[in-house]
């Protein structure tokens, strides 16, 4: 069957093999938005491309990028033509906290995969949107783990905290431009990342719920997307005096 990709908006999803990205791709394509699916191993996305094109009759491109290689990523993003109107970074890697404590290379990787890599990619895209005067929407998926460091995953948490601060700064810098910067802070999401973890069911959202949260934020240009139960919970967690927080085990 011949595809006739509609001319129109396109969204770049970075970290497109993630469970949340896969759901988000459907929600965007259902609105007629074309897709660029970017991932380290984008051959894995060939079936997704065929599926999305068939279901929604939108154009889908695959882009191989590795955020751990900032120069290569920058080159690939500069080569995108035209600049996508929507870009979402869904990249994240929890890693193993204990190994990160012992191995500086793994600790550095956690920072690169969760903070510097995604931040530099969005910086490049912001620059391009600014140059082309495109009213782009840039979305960074951070995490509630960045709201306060915990013993269980503080390299991951610290990197996400850095990413959250980066997004806040970028948003302020671009306030007077047509570019919107959105911070998404999901709580626990049932994905491959959290598979096998013992997480409280009432706080565990599905990838679909999380994708809908991101989609709504894009549609309404909501600057911070945060599930309400997590907003409340983290308000309490952040308000806790350090002396008390230090002794908690969670």
């Amino acid at each position: 069957m011949t595809m006739q990709p509609r001319q129109g908006r396109r969204a770049l999803l970075i970290g497109a093999t993630s469970d949340i990205s896969r759901r988000l791709a459907h929600l965007l394509a259902a609105d007629g938005i074309g897709l660029i699916l970017a991932a380290r191993d984008c051959a894995r996305l060939a079936p997704d491309k065929a599926d999305l094109e068939l279901r929604y009759r939108v154009g889908v491109e695959l882009l191989e990028i590795d955020l751990l290689d900032p120069a290569g990523t920058r080159a690939a993003l500069l080569a995108l033509d035209p600049v996508p109107e929507i870009a979402v970074s869904l990249v994240g890697e929890m890693g193993n906290q204990a190994s990160q404590q012992d191995d500086p290379a793994l600790a550095a990787r956690a920072i690169a995969a969760n903070f510097t890599g995604p931040a530099l990619a969005l910086e490049t895209l912001a620059g391009r949107a600014l140059d082309a005067n495109v009213p782009a929407v840039l979305v960074g998926v951070s995490s509630v783990a960045g709201d306060r460091g915990r013993a269980r995953n503080y390299y991951y948490g610290a990197a996400k905290a850095g990413f959250t601060a980066f997004l806040s700064g970028l948003r302020q810098r671009l306030a007077a431009t047509p570019i919107t910067v959105i911070t998404v802070k999901p709580g626990f999401v049932a994905t491959r990342m959290t598979q096998g973890m013992d997480l409280p069911a009432p706080l565990l959202d599905s990838a679909e719920t999380c994708a809908r949260l991101i989609k709504r934020a894009i549609d309404h240009k909501r600057l911070i997307a945060y599930p309400w139960k997590w907003r409340l919970l983290m308000l309490a967690v952040r308000a806790m005096p350090e002396g008390v927080f230090r002794k908690l085990k969670f």
Partner: protein, 449 residues
């Protein structure tokens, strides 16, 4: 991979009876699925769990196909769609109705997977005209007991193909399939409603309406005496553009946005009892009989009315429910249906609506449909209901009928063996291909499939 029993998920079907703790695997790739099969445990495929009983759970583990949900190709000329088996019927309809294609056979819910539709060889309200779903499967890729994938079609591995259609996942794991879609001119259905006073009148009305494509009757299983089996018979066709009012004729494939209700909680006890059912049925028939003779409905409301209340199965409470669906061959249908309805009415049990459909010629094997009438009734699960179902089994056997495996959660093996034809051949094929050891469900063990 071993799991402690208490950490195993609680699995059940749509009837929420029985609930069984058993392993559930979520392979990401077909390679991972093949590895699980080669590991030597006995597995069963699990789709969207819309079958009612214990056929999609297994002591060795159920293998969820929900991640195998990609469309692969579509040929506009032939209408042939290739897809992974975990794709939902709803996804196919959402994607292709706007392009003027419809799935030739659809069951009562659109939240079933294509693989499940093949495994249960589902039927629609148009069985007489379109046959069962299997009639529209061009080929399927089956991951067999030896870990190899075989493409099966009427021409290639024909015997395996035939046994897989209606084979309840017991011949292997269906990975992909190619199905033929039909052209339609609108997304709407033109429906004519006929009111019949009793069961005899209903059967006469069925026999007088063979020209209609889709036929289904909703009957009151609690009415007694003269009104035994009073019913509303709906006769429908895919609407043509001329049937549509001017306002929607311009966009004949666009249906109004769906508003779905959801049953948010399990009721502590079933809300379905003699009083509520009697009241509901009285109202339904009073309103239904007064309603316009013909109506125009979006396909969703016409074919999937119950999908508009998500999780409606929860009204039966924590105890769950069982659906009894049997088919009675044409010759004994009239007396058999009377006997079934009398037994149900006498017991004062039964659901809001019972459904009666007319089947045409069947495919044989384990595939459920055969020429005759099929009755489906829900019962809140209880010991009393269980005894009634045994009684219904006896009536079904007496009239040469059998029950639908996709609905069954409780049939005793002895009764099942007396009703099911083609059992010997199916068992022989299972033994020969090695699938008897590799693919087993709680249902297959209970019934000795």
């Amino acid at each position: 991979m071993s799991m402690a029993r208490e950490t195993l998920p609680r699995l059940s079907g749509w009837g929420r009876y029985p609930v069984i703790r058993a392993p559930l695997f979520h392979p990401e790739t077909e390679y991972m699925a093949a590895e699980l099969v080669k590991e030597g445990r006995s597995l069963i495929a699990r789709g969207n769990a819309r079958s009612y009983g214990d056929c999609a759970a297994a002591p060795g583990g159920a293998l969820s196909l929900l991640k195998f949900n990609h469309l692969i190709a579509f040929d506009t000329e032939t209408g042939i769609l290739t897809a992974q088996a975990g794709v939902l019927l709803n996804d196919v309809l959402s994607a292709f109705v706007p392009r003027g294609f419809f799935v030739p056979v659809v069951p009562g819910t659109r939240f079933v997977t294509l693989g499940g539709m093949i495994a249960a060889d589902v039927h629609g309200k148009n069985h007489m005209k379109a046959g069962s779903f299997g009639a529209h499967v061009v080929w399927l890729d089956l991951l067999c007991a030896d870990g190899k994938v075989r493409r099966c079609s009427p021409a290639e591995h024909g015997e395996l193909f035939a046994a897989t259609i209606g084979g309840m996942g017991l011949t292997g794991l269906i990975l992909h399939c190619a199905i033929r879609l039909n052209r339609v001119e609108t997304a709407y259905v033109r429906q004519r409603r006929v009111v019949t006073a009793d069961l005899n009148a209903l059967i006469d009305a069925f026999e007088d309406s063979h020209e209609a494509s889709y036929r289904v009757a909703w009957l009151d299983c609690l009415s007694r005496g003269e009104g035994l089996g009073r019913a509303l018979l709906d006769l429908s066709e895919h609407a043509e553009p001329d049937d549509l009012p001017q306002s929607i004729r311009m966009c004949p494939f666009r249906t109004p946005a769906r508003r779905t209700l959801s049953m948010p909680i399990d009721l502590p006890v079933s809300a379905v009892n003699g009083l509520t059912v009697r009241t509901f049925n009285e109202l339904y028939f009073a309103i239904g009989a007064r309603k316009a003779q013909t109506s125009l409905l979006p396909y969703q409301s016409a074919f999937f009315p119950l999908d508009e209340i998500l999780n409606w199965n929860r009204i039966y409470g924590r105890g769950g429910f069982a659906q009894y669906q049997c088919v009675l061959p044409l010759a004994g249908a009239r007396s058999g249906l009377h006997a079934l309805l009398r037994a149900i009415s006498r017991a004062g049990m039964g659901s809001f609506l019972s459904v009666l459909k007319r089947f045409g010629e069947g495919r044989g094997g384990l595939s459920f449909p055969r020429e005759g009438y099929t009755l489906a009734i829900d019962f809140a699960w209880s010991d009393r209901a269980s005894r009634l179902l045994d009684e219904l089994d006896a009536i079904t056997i007496e009239h040469g009928g059998h029950v639908y495996l996709a609905k069954d959660a409780r049939a005793p093996r002895a009764a099942f063996e007396r009703m099911q034809k083609g059992l010997g051949d199916f068992r022989a094929l299972r033994a020969e291909t090695g699938s008897a050891e590799r693919f087993q469900s709680f249902q297959s063990k209970r019934l000795g499939l």
